[in-house]
Symmetry: C2
Subunit: 501 residues, 2 copies
């Protein structure tokens, strides 16, 4: 593990590899052992701090592993927000696990690039198998499996999946009405839909003015109402516009709301729109039968996505995208340059193999990682039963927290809890006339103070003008005691703030 002399640089020497890797495994095992001792959110929040600590240029000569790891400990760790801390309740969880890590290591070490089938046949095929397994686990209709004429792909993020499906929907529509029709295409989402849909629509060239954000209300638990979509669509059609794409979300980012997939699917069908179901976070819960009802009507969808990297113990990144029509997706995304054509059989003139998936035509990028290995390891190592128990454990913790909030009259739960996300706030007597009420400031201060303590990290949302604190349970190391602790911390901090007023 010492310095490596240039003239003998052997980057994959097995002994150096094993020694360097063992040092990292030790480092990480120690990190997991102590992660609850770090402030959850980075303690040092002075922008530019790390840049000041590091040299202006790369070193001219190689350095020993120990020195680099010392720098990680001293300079980098204090500036990290610790997503694997058991007291990380912010955003949505991003799960690491021993199995996810093992699968990822194997994939990173093999470093194969399955963009076309022949570039690593088993990698492409394992991907096809694993996405089918996942589709069955979450109860998707047969049409999203390869055996049912559909199929899936592992991408890096929902954002990619959104861009790909938007492009597929767009090209299907433009094939009918001509490319200049792009000015008429309209995309529909709710005010709770993830921002990536708006960004994705802009990316694929939909005029920003043609993105409809439909309001949701507390009455429906902030779900997108099919009637409201219908009305918007009919209005657009009356103005000569062309409804293109509708997004239904199972578990919105802000509040965990669930849109009615079947009703929205019927609207989409009626108007020839592409329906995408975004189950990025809560899709993981659908491996439990008690949550599969939320995907009822998925047979009306054109595509569905969920992120095993959120709540399914699969280290970043891994997003399952399933489509009912691979042909529609491929039509928007395929390329066939000469340097990627398969020349497999001598004398066969380079004819491509049938039934061999070229996954480059299922995504934005040509290059791709062997993500299937990671998800396969998670499924094999923990099993469907293990994963169900894991999901249910988190939901039970969130239920406990929800009950605790409800039992404390100073607080309120703001939106119905469906999964492991609890949205709550300090309740304050309404003040007449004042537009910007003070309770927002109290909740803001409460969150800031909790996070500044370093003992937990949560994030917020704003709904109906109200500042809401989000507690997203789902850490791989989170236990009941961590949820109890954060509740006590919230109560204690609130008490101090309220007394001060």
């Amino acid at each position: 593990m010492g310095s490596l002399p240039v003239d003998t640089l052997r980057p994959l020497d097995p002994d150096t590899f094993a020694a360097d890797s063992a040092a990292i495994v030790d480092f990480l095992a120690g990190y997991y052992r102590d992660v609850d001792k770090y402030p959850v959110r980075a303690a040092d929040l002075e922008p530019g701090r790390l840049r000041k600590l590091l040299p202006e240029a790369a070193p001219e000569w190689g350095e020993p592993m120990e020195r680099i790891l010392d720098d990680v400990r001293r300079d980098v760790l204090p500036g990290l927000t610790h997503w694997q801390s058991p007291s990380f309740f912010a955003y949505f969880p991003m799960n690491a696990s021993a199995a996810g890590f093992a699968g990822e290591m194997l994939s990173v070490g093999l470093n194969v690039v399955p963009f076309v089938w022949v570039a690593s046949p088993a990698a492409a095929e394992l991907e096809g198998v694993v996405v089918d397994w996942m589709a069955s686990l979450v109860g998707l209709p047969e049409r999203f499996l390869f055996s049912g004429g559909g199929g899936g792909v592992l991408q890096g993020s929902t954002c990619e999946a959104v861009v790909c499906t938007l492009a597929a929907a767009r090209d299907r529509a433009l094939g009918r009405i001509g490319h200049e029709g792009i000015m008429k295409l309209v995309v529909y989402a709710s005010d709770q839909t993830h921002a990536t849909f708006q960004k994705g629509a802009r990316l694929v060239g939909i005029p920003p003015a043609n993105f409809r954000v439909i309001r949701t209300t507390a009455a429906s638990g902030y779900a997108l109402a099919a009637g409201a979509v219908s009305a918007a669509v009919e209005d657009d059609v009356a103005h000569g516009l062309v409804p293109l794409y509708l997004c239904a979300t199972m578990g919105t980012t802000g509040l965990g709301a669930v849109d009615p997939v079947r009703e929205l699917g019927e609207v989409a069908r009626r108007h020839g729109m592409w329906l995408h179901v975004d189950a990025a976070y809560a899709g993981s819960a659908a491996i439990c039968p008690e949550y599969q009802g939320y995907l009822d009507g998925a047979e009306l969808a054109d595509s569905v996505s969920m992120n095993p990297h959120k709540w399914f113990l699969t280290n970043m990144d891994c997003c399952c995208l399933w489509v009912a029509s691979p042909a529609a997706l491929n039509a928007a995304l395929s390329t066939d340059p000469e340097y990627l054509k398969n020349v497999v059989v001598a004398g066969a003139g380079g004819k491509p193999q049938a039934a061999a998936i070229d996954y480059k035509d299922w995504q934005i990028s040509l290059s791709r990682r062997f993500r299937a290995m990671k998800l396969w390891f998670v499924l094999r190592r923990y099993g469907a039963g293990g994963m169900r128990a894991y999901i249910r454990r988190h939901v039970a913790m969130a239920e406990w927290f929800e009950r605790a909030v409800n039992a404390d009259e100073r607080f309120e739960v703001v939106a119905p809890r469906r999964f492991s996300l609890v949205c709550f706030r300090l309740r304050q007597p309404p003040r007449p006339s004042s537009e910007q009420s003070d309770d927002d400031d109290v909740n803001r201060e409460l969150l800031a103070a909790v996070n500044a303590s370093g003992q937990a990290f949560m994030t917020h949302f704003v709904v109906d003008g109200k500042f809401v604190i989000r507690l997203a349970v789902g850490g791989a190391m989170t236990e009941m005691r961590h949820v109890r602790d954060v509740w006590e911390l919230v109560q204690r901090t609130a008490e101090q703030l309220l007394q001060r007023q």
Copy 2:
């Protein structure tokens, strides 16, 4: 490492983590030791083979690590194409290394998600530092460094970088001429430019008819001639179209050609086009002063990209994208949903920190991995000097191969070798009149037979109607003897084919 009972599933238990990870390190060290014993390209090329071997559904209960690794050995490895084999000369290399692996493991294990600065400040800052280091190493002008008003980001692939820069260029243009102007925007590339530019242009909504593929010729070494671009642009302008984006490549995929950046930059400037320099493969060579001349004129570019995951010992995936105007990029890619706003200082009302980069606004996706750790490890562990020696070693091997081809009158080198890619073919006496000459078939057969032997893997290209074999040197374990071996194999195989005729 045995089966894990459900009720005690502890996915990040440090001891299980360490034991499982150690098993993978052992597995991979053994793999590197033996990788030259596998057929380079997958031996088993029957589509659907792996699917038949695997069960139809995920297991219900978790399984021991050993059993999964046994299945990897028995079912997966024989179906992989071994990109890390020293005799892999196909496509472009995808380098793994002990340092790249170590950095990636650390990143995967920490599993932080630096989409906004506060979500892991040190991760965002390390990224800024490392892309600056790389920009300096490859000799980019100051305007692409943060200190010069520009800046860089680590993405997953050139394809992503292309989509992002196309969107930025498009939105800058549409801001001037209105969104309906999208029908008038024109993108220019050569017939050697990577297919991802055409796909990217389609993705961001440029009408497919507005993608100009400009012919190159042997006379210029298949470089894009500025005069030809000028002529095409002037013709388009005369027809009321709007020149948008021009791509110059340093090291094209098919032949390794280099476009004249300065001359193309001047055309781009004259017509208000965005100039992107794609140095995906050969950018790594630009860390050696003798290759920096190829980037002369880069100060006229709006963006530059290169892939450390190709020839820079950085395991998949890692693409540096530098832009002269972060504001232009961010304008096309930023979102500001409530749930991502920073609430940092108690009572400060959630004002964002200045100078804190939110990298979500520099790429397609919100979620992102901590790729900086990987590239930083490579630079620290091997040093700039070590990397230069590494690059030069590969170039020297390619030079040797080129000389060997030139010395054998049965063969010819088809395009000038600039870096570590040699494009060659069996030369055959021209046959009058026949359109599809037989020498193509002989070269096709030659490549198919070499690849079928399992002793090496190369891919092909077609230029001026000629089938060309590509030898891309660049494996982390490739030594001179492997290059000598593949040349002997090519000669031997050619002899057999020619005798048979």
